[in-house]
C-alpha cells in the first residue's frame, strides 16, 4: 500500500464531565477541528469517580491536531481547570491520512 501518512498529535483529556461544553469550546477556539468524547469512570488523586451522581461523571476527550494546537489546549487546560478539577492529560504521536482535516 502506498498510503501517505502524516504525523499529528493525539491529545487525550480525562476530566469531570461538567467540563465537556467548556473543553469543546476552548479546543475549537485554539484550532481543533474535531473532537471525540467517551463516557468513562475511574480514579486518581482526587479519589474514585464512579458516575454515581450528576457531578461524579467523567469523560475522556480525544483531539487529533497539530502539535502546537495540542500544546496550546493542554497549557490552557492545565492552567485553568487542573488546579480545581480532576483532570488527567497525555500526548501521543499518531499518523493520519487526510492531514488537512486535523
Amino acid at each position: 500500500m502506498s498510503l501517505q501518512k502524516h504525523p499529528k498529535t493525539l491529545l487525550v483529556i480525562v476530566a469531570e464531565a461538567v467540563l465537556e461544553k467548556a473543553l469543546v469550546r476552548d479546543a475549537r477556539e485554539r484550532g481543533a477541528q474535531g473532537w471525540t468524547v467517551a463516557e468513562v469512570h475511574g480514579g486518581g488523586h482526587g479519589g474514585v469517580r464512579e458516575g454515581a451522581w450528576e457531578a461524579d461523571r467523567t469523560i475522556e476527550m480525544k483531539l487529533i491536531c497539530e502539535p502546537a494546537v495540542a500544546d496550546a489546549i493542554a497549557a490552557h487546560v492545565l492552567s485553568v481547570y487542573a488546579p480545581n478539577y480532576g483532570v488527567a492529560l497525555y500526548f501521543s504521536p499518531v499518523q493520519v491520512l487526510r492531514p488537512e482535516r486535523y
Partner: protein, 310 residues
C-alpha cells in the same frame, strides 16, 4: 410507622455498606429523576389550574427570599467549623437550594397521614432551586477577585433540567387541567410512589458510598449535616406560619428549608466555585442530611407543623 419508600433507601445504604455489586444503571437514575421532576410539576400544575394565580405571588417571593437567606445563615457556621471560604459557601448553597426527593417523601408522608397541604406546593420547589445557589456563589466570591459569569450561571440554573422540568410540568398541568391530563395519569400519577421507591434505592446506594467519606472531612461535615436540617426546618416552618399556610404547607416548607440539593447545586457550584471541595458538600447533603431528613426529620417537621398550626 416508617413509610415504605424509606425502606428502599435503607436497602440501598445497606447494599453499599456491605459492598454489594448492586448498581442501578445510570440511564435509570437519569430517567427516574426526569420522571419525578415532571410528575411533581404536573401534579402541582393540575392543582394550579383550579385557582387564581395572582394570590401566589407573595408566596413565591417569600419562598425565594427564604432560599436566598439560608446560605447567609449557614455560612458563618461553616466558617466557625474551620471550613475555608469556598467550602463554607458551597456547602451553604446546597442547603439554600432544595431536594426534590425529600419533598416527595414529605408529601407522601402527609398523604398517608391524611394531612392537607397547598396543592401547588411544587411551585415552591421550582422557585427555591436557584436563589440559594446564587447566594452561595456571592458568599464564595465575597471580598475576592474572581469574576463570576452571572449570565451563564443564570441561564444554567433557570434552564437547567430541574427547574425546566418542574416548571414545564407545572405549566402543562395548569394548561391541560384535570381533564386534559387524564390520559397520562396512568404514567405520571399512579406509579409515582413506586418510582420514588426505586429512586430512593439508588440514592441509598449513593448515600451509602458517602458515609464512608464522613470520617475524611472531620466533624464539620457531621455537625452541619445533622445540625443544619432541624435549624433550617424551624426557619422554614416559621416562614410558613407567617405566610398563613396550612399544617401540611408548614411541614413542607420546613422540609424544603431543611433539605439540601444534590442535583442542581453540585453541578452549578462545580462550575461557579470550582475551588470548593465537591465531595465535602455532597457528603453532607446526600450522605447525612438526606437520610436524616427522610428517616427522622420529616416526622418531626410534621409534628412541629401540627403543633404550631393547632
Amino acid at each position: 410507622m416508617i413509610d415504605v419508600v424509606v425502606f428502599f433507601f435503607l436497602l440501598g445504604v445497606f447494599a453499599r455498606l456491605v459492598g454489594s455489586d448492586l448498581r442501578l444503571p445510570e440511564a435509570l437514575y437519569e430517567t427516574l429523576s426526569i420522571y419525578l421532576l415532571l410528575a411533581i410539576g404536573l401534579k402541582g400544575g393540575i392543582e394550579l389550574s383550579k385557582q387564581p394565580l395572582v394570590a401566589l405571588v407573595p408566596q413565591v417571593l417569600v419562598c425565594m427570599a427564604l432560599g436566598f437567606a439560608i446560605p447567609f445563615l449557614l455560612y458563618p457556621l461553616g466558617r466557625a467549623l474551620k471550613l475555608v471560604q469556598a467550602d463554607a459557601a458551597s456547602l451553604a448553597a446546597h442547603y439554600g437550594s432544595v431536594s426534590v426527593v425529600t419533598f416527595a417523601v414529605a408529601t407522601a408522608a402527609l398523604t398517608r397521614q391524611g394531612i392537607a397541604y397547598e396543592s401547588h406546593a411544587a411551585l415552591w420547589v421550582a422557585v427555591m432551586e436557584a436563589p440559594g445557589i446564587v447566594a452561595g456563589i456571592l458568599l464564595a466570591r465575597m471580598g475576592r477577585g474572581g469574576a463570576t459569569n452571572w449570565r451563564g450561571l443564570a441561564h444554567d440554573v433557570a434552564f437547567g433540567k430541574s427547574v425546566l422540568l418542574l416548571l414545564g410540568g407545572l405549566v402543562i398541568g395548569a394548561v391541560a387541567g384535570v381533564e386534559g391530563t387524564k390520559p397520562i395519569q396512568a404514567v405520571f400519577i399512579d406509579p409515582f410512589k413506586g418510582v420514588l421507591a426505586l429512586f430512593l434505592l439508588e440514592l441509598g446506594l449513593v448515600a451509602g458510598g458517602r458515609l464512608g467519606e464522613v470520617r475524611r472531612f472531620g466533624p464539620a461535615v457531621l455537625v452541619i449535616g445533622l445540625g443544619a436540617p432541624p435549624l433550617l426546618a424551624l426557619a422554614g416552618a416559621a416562614t410558613g406560619l407567617a405566610l398563613g399556610l396550612s399544617t401540611g404547607g408548614v411541614a413542607l416548607l420546613a422540609t424544603l428549608a431543611a433539605s439540601a440539593s444534590y442535583i442542581a447545586a453540585p453541578t452549578a457550584m462545580r462550575i461557579a466555585v470550582p475551588e470548593a471541595n465537591a465531595a465535602l458538600s455532597i457528603t453532607a447533603a446526600l450522605g447525612i442530611s438526606f437520610p436524616f431528613n427522610i428517616v427522622i426529620g420529616i416526622p418531626i417537621y410534621i409534628e412541629l407543623a401540627k403543633r404550631w398550626t393547632a
